[in-house]
Symmetry: C2
Amino acid sequence: MEIGVLGTGAVGAAIGAKLAQLGHQVKMGSRDAGNVKATAWAAQAGANASVGTFSDAAAFGKILFNCTSGQGALSALNLAGSANLKGKLLIDVSNPLDFSKGMPPTLTVCNTDSLGEQIQRSYPEAKVVKTLNTVNAFLMVEPSKLAGDHSMFLCGNDEGAKGQAREILTSWFGWKDVIDLGDITNARGTEMILPLWVRLYGHFKSPNFNFQIVR
Amino acid sequence: MEIGVLGTGAVGAAIGAKLAQLGHQVKMGSRDAGNVKATAWAAQAGANASVGTFSDAAAFGKILFNCTSGQGALSALNLAGSANLKGKLLIDVSNPLDFSKGMPPTLTVCNTDSLGEQIQRSYPEAKVVKTLNTVNAFLMVEPSKLAGDHSMFLCGNDEGAKGQAREILTSWFGWKDVIDLGDITNARGTEMILPLWVRLYGHFKSPNFNFQIVR
């Protein structure tokens, strides 16, 4: 399948590489079609990988992953263009983290709203599913790196899109415990565990951990 | 040991009953010394249990548990009196949840501050340790109700008080995986997972779950 990955950071690179390895055609989008990180990623990811602008990647993909930094997400999607998002599953992996005021980071939106909701409101014809934002990039696409069971959350307003996202998580990436929290307002909850995630990262001195919901 | 439990809700009742059952002298404090819920609790909890005002309970306890609702915490501690909190371990179990605007609840403080920090700032001579606020009352004192490993967080500024709190969690209540996140600013992180907790409660239709940090 053709898939557009928006963002050239560790998250975009890990997800894009995994998708290309699974045999999908992946275009990584960025602000600048000649982005050095995207070009380096494509050279490593092989024949299934290509690069372009946010708009190129969004037009190319039948499914889209928003892997931009939280603070760049809305402007990146604006460059991607609403016509290119329309009717598509848009998996939103971004977190509204603000590191500009030092550590620990704060969230630019939380409690009564979330970045996932802002994106869905801005692009009502996209089918936003918030997921994968609660783990490190490497765990996202290879949950078996951690021994034992651990959980992945998803939420969104479109049941069909959530089913498609669940299939990607389970069949493509190998997640076993995927918890559908409900509509996109649940993005508040999953984005708001990031402050704890960041502290746990500091505590363990490793990002190789995840939450399991024991029940 | 003499222990003061502030608050007559499900959390205060469960913690107070467990402590009395372990042989400690427990005084449950409330706004009104003749509080009906406190009196009913004491009748059930047996000879080790007594009731009084917030001030009575705080004066009585060598260790204190703040089990008030988040929105009532600071006024309850004000009634308890700073002289009665001075130098004592104050285990803060409260969460700044606001249900007044309907479901899902929001937090009255988050992101750049927390209730745990507000309490520590208000009573600098108390040794505030934030813990137990991320699970249901019954799990707090009986973590073995859930099969398998699961985690409890603690944070605070005083190392001695955290050691004492850890001993209560492990030796008295039976917690096995207790994670010390660091200073009291980490209360932001643990309080901010409550929105997800509330959604998971709705999803599972049971409060009998917890987060395990798989690593």
